[in-house]
């Protein structure tokens, strides 16, 4: 499992984030607009990418800046 590789894969899907690996859990810390993740198809694509990198679970961290992740630029 490589957090860096998954982050790179997610960038190609248009999702900018830092990936924190906790065993087989990938925690995505958004670094840009992730509004697309409100859509089931977008989440499915992320899950496929993570599975391909050996992760069984993917979670999107709700950021600490007071803004919800889907509203960030």
């Amino acid at each position: 499992m490589s957090a860096t590789d998954l982050a790179s894969d997610l960038r190609t899907l248009g999702l900018a984030c830092v990936v924190e690996a906790r065993d087989r859990l990938a925690v995505l810390r958004p670094r840009g607009d992730v509004a697309s993740l409100a859509q089931p198809d977008a989440r499915a694509a992320v899950l496929r990418a993570a599975r391909a990198r050996g992760f069984t679970h993917v979670a999107l961290e709700l950021d600490g800046a007071g803004d919800a992740p889907v509203s960030r630029d």
């Binding site: 087989r24 409100a38 989440r43 899950l47 679970h57 979670a59 709700l62 007071g66 889907v70």
Partner: protein, 275 residues
Amino acid sequence: MALERERRLIAWLRDARTVAIGYSGGVDSAYLAAVAVEALGPDRVLGIVGRSATYPESQWRTASDLAARIGLHLLELNTDELNDPNYAANPANRCYFCKAELWSVLVPAARLHGMEVVVDGTNADDTHDYRPGAAAAREHGVRSPLAEVGLAKADIRERSRARGLPSWDQPSSPCLASRIPYGTAVTVERLQRIGDAEAALRAIGVRGDLRVRHHDDLARVELPSDEIGRWLEPTASRRLRKAVLDAGYSRVAIDLRGFRSGSLNILGGVRGGGE
């Protein structure tokens, strides 16, 4: 099919004559209790609840309300699995030690109250999952009539609805320790934090299956998959995050797949998917 299985359950219970039920107020044990009271009469059935920090307070209120509604006599006993180091260390077979403690308290109490057979709410689906607690039940002579007559979860929900039981669509509610990854110690403080977080999420309107999975400082929230999009919207996600932070976590994340029964079994590489 479900009705036919229910008839077999009624016959099974009548053969047993008197039963003590390990009762949690969940879908399965509530249904079993309702059928047993109807089949045997209230004086031949005793529901026994094992109370500890792993049993959410909100569930106790639901369980006692439902018992009163169906005429089930209840006996409340304290269990102390958290003081068993085998349990508290949280190995993959943690449920064995929990159930061993539970049945070591409940079975003698059932005998004292004149109940001949002690039963639990294990259903036919459960027999396909990784359930180390089932071994402890067998060791204490506890029977599982729902499983023995082939009643699966869907059957139980269908028959519960037909009987007007409010539990028919209640989400599954395994003990709070199921939110803590194997190998991470089970403590009263962690159970309290998880319970508070889930109660707070219910209070802001989270519906259906919900789990707050404990990953040290991070709470990973599993929601029904069709609810995830709604809670990723800006206003909703702020409310969700605040609710979990107020319960004592410092970081909050929403699982992108959503609720999975036995999620931590999968994460821990343990076979089976049930909790």
